[in-house]
């Protein structure tokens, strides 16, 4: 087991390295860099000042030299400074992290708590009214565009309930009440497609497991249906569901960018987007690298949990 984990971790490092290289090169190879934006914005920046800015940002060095310097700093823990505000990037990321993490974790929890029981209910009562109702809802839930739903939710809530969440972001520790009010709508928006997905997956996975022979044996032994379900069927059915939930990490990260934009939440997605619009390379590459690293880490965790649950795949 530890060998498996160690092997997986070892593979991750070159992966992250290659991502950083690709990002770095991509951002710098395209014509038009940060100094150009500054020039455009200020309008009056003289070519000498622009050249000086470029030099201070190391943009005039050859790409591979820039990369190696950057790498050297990253290893020491310094991810550079924002080109725009000269804030250390690490601080920016850490500032935005709690917001995004809260959003993602709550969405995940909500969708699992709602999706799994619904899926079980649909599978157990196959073709019952509940099932037939949930199936189309599931597909619709998957197809709803997040941003549209967010916009609709804001509209409906403000029109019918005449209620708007507090505007400026309050952290959970400062004021839990306000924070929960703020995070309610974003979580609903983000969680809905996941609920639909988890529900469908739980249902199909459970249906497949219920058709297996050992379930028939358990029933033949005389176990009550509930016991059959909880002791035998559910544990095995949950395995693919865990994988799916883990894969949602990527979707959550991408979705958080949009949601944070719509609801004006100062999270990592928002940081990335603003940096993107301003061509703030250091922030962009650090943020994307961070997201990729978290995503890879999440996948790793899912794989480990999967290996733990299903010993068969441990030795591949």
């Amino acid at each position: 087991m530890t060998q498996y984990i160690a092997r997986r971790i070892v593979v991750t490092i070159p992966l992250l390295l290659s991502i950083s290289i690709v990002l770095f090169v991509l951002l710098r190879i395209v014509p038009g860099d940060f100094a150009d934006v500054y020039e455009g914005m200020e309008g009056m920046m003289s070519p000498e000042a622009a050249a000086k800015l470029r030099h201070s940002l190391e943009l005039d060095l050859p790409v591979h030299v820039q990369y190696l310097r950057w790498l050297g700093r990253v290893i020491q823990g310094d991810m550079g400074r924002s080109m725009r505000t000269a804030e250390p990037v690490t601080e920016l990321i850490l500032a935005g992290l709690p917001v995004t993490v809260e959003l993602m974790v709550m969405s995940l929890v909500v969708s699992v708590v709602i999706g799994v029981p619904l899926g079980i209910g649909a599978a157990v009562g196959r073709n019952s009214k509940l099932d037939l109702l949930l199936q189309p809802l599931g597909v619709i839930g998957l197809s709803v565009p997040r941003f549209w739903m967010a916009v609709m939710l804001i509209l409906v809530v403000s029109r019918t309930f005449h209620w708007m969440p507090p505007l400026f972001w309050v952290s959970l520790f400062e004021n839990p009440g306000d924070n929960l009010k703020q995070i309610l709508l974003p979580v609903i928006t983000l969680a809905l497609p996941m609920v639909a997905l988890i529900m469908r997956f739980t249902r199909s996975s459970l249906l497949e497991v219920l058709g297996e022979d050992y379930i028939r044996t358990a029933r033949a032994k005389g176990l009550t249906e509930a016991l059959v379900l909880y002791r035998h069927a559910l544990k095995n059915a949950m395995i693919p569901v865990v994988t799916v939930v883990g894969m949602q990490a990527g979707y959550l990260m991408g979705g958080s960018v949009i949601i944070e934009q719509i609801f004006s939440m100062p999270g990592i997605g928002w940081v990335l987007l603003s940096a993107m619009h301003q061509r703030d390379y250091t922030v962009v590459q650090a943020t994307v690298l961070f997201m990729a690293a978290s995503f890879t880490l999440a996948n790793l965790v899912v794989d480990i949990v999967y290996a733990y649950l299903d010993p068969r795949i441990r030795y591949f």
Binding site: S18, L26, G32, M276, F295
Partner: protein, 298 residues
């Protein structure tokens, strides 16, 4: 499957008989999900292709009063420049279809061939290709699309390119799996022993067998492409105004939600219907091609 059921009922009589119609009805009833999806998709395609015929006004014409609510003259209202929302939505269908076709073609062709090649040659080629795919996989798709469009510059073409790139690894995986198992089949060995070259084996033996999964994946990719393009345009990194992409309309219309919600609501509804149609179609196709379900049906 379908023709067998109908043949038994028809028994030589010409269609349509009541029995024949009932048989078709039964088949459609069993596959109502896919049929509904196909219906929606066909409507969307028709609207997109024949957009100029359906749209009452030009999408760029500033005819009406600004931010006018839906009226007999402008069925879905007007936007902030006085343009007819309905016409813009109809022309937006064209853009969405365009995006879908181009980006899915890119990822299908590149991803599919890479996956086939990886599984076909195996060994180091396989690991090299799949390593690259893993790299693309490890960045969340929207983030990757964001970065690519952001660096290349926001435009429709770059958005299509970005979406195509983002979806390539998925197609590679979908193509690689079945190809691996096909390579083990005796007929491949037989073909090689009579001197069939690589290309011939790939095109003649591998491709027809992985076609089913590729088709299903393409349909689902289409819906995601539409959604991703809308997201990118919404964030300002995709289609640029004044092009009537549904995502851009939603993005700019957001400002007027308080007093003119129709500007944003209807494009979003259009997105949802189109994505829903393709998802249903993809689901229906997947069930149709799934050998287990087919066997159970017979």
């Amino acid at each position: 499957m379908k023709s067998a059921a109908i043949d038994v009922h028809l028994q030589g009589r010409a269609f349509p008989t009541l029995d024949g119609i009932q048989a078709v009805g039964r088949v459609i009833g069993k596959h109502w999900v896919g049929t509904l999806g196909m219906f929606i998709v066909l409507v969307v395609i028709a609207v997109g292709v024949f957009a100029p015929h359906f749209a009452p006004y030009l999408p760029d014409e500033q005819l009406g009063a600004r931010l006018d609510s839906p009226s007999p003259q402008f069925s879905l209202g007007t936007d902030e420049f006085g343009r007819d929302v309905l016409s813009r939505i109809i022309c937006g269908a064209r853009i969405s279809l365009y995006v879908g076709v181009v980006s899915v073609s890119i990822s299908l062709v590149f991803g599919g061939s890479l996956g086939m090649i990886a599984a076909f040659f195996g060994g180091r080629v396989d690991s090299a290709i799949m390593r690259c795919m893993d790299l693309l996989f490890s960045i969340p798709s929207l983030v990757l699309a964001l970065v690519i469009t952001g660096t290349l510059g926001p435009s429709l073409t770059n958005a299509m390119l970005a979406i195509g790139i983002v979806y390539t690894p998925r197609f590679a995986r979908v193509a690689r799996g079945p190809t691996l198992s096909i390579m083990q089949q005796p007929y491949v060995e037989a073909a090689r022993s009579i001197g069939a070259g690589h290309l011939r084996i790939m095109l003649r033996h591998v491709l027809p067998n992985i076609l089913a999964s590729l088709i299903v994946q393409s349909t689902l990719a289409f819906s995601t492409a539409i959604l991703t393009e809308a997201s990118l345009s919404f964030l300002g990194l995709g289609t640029q105004p004044p092009d009537p992409s549904w995502g851009t309309m939603l993005g700019t219309g957001r400002k007027f939600m308080e007093f003119a919600p129709w500007v944003a609501v209807f494009p979003g509804l259009a997105i949802m219907i189109a994505v829903l149609g393709f998802n249903l179609l993809g689901d229906g196709l997947r069930d149709f091609f799934d050998p287990r379900i087919r066997r159970r049906a017979q």
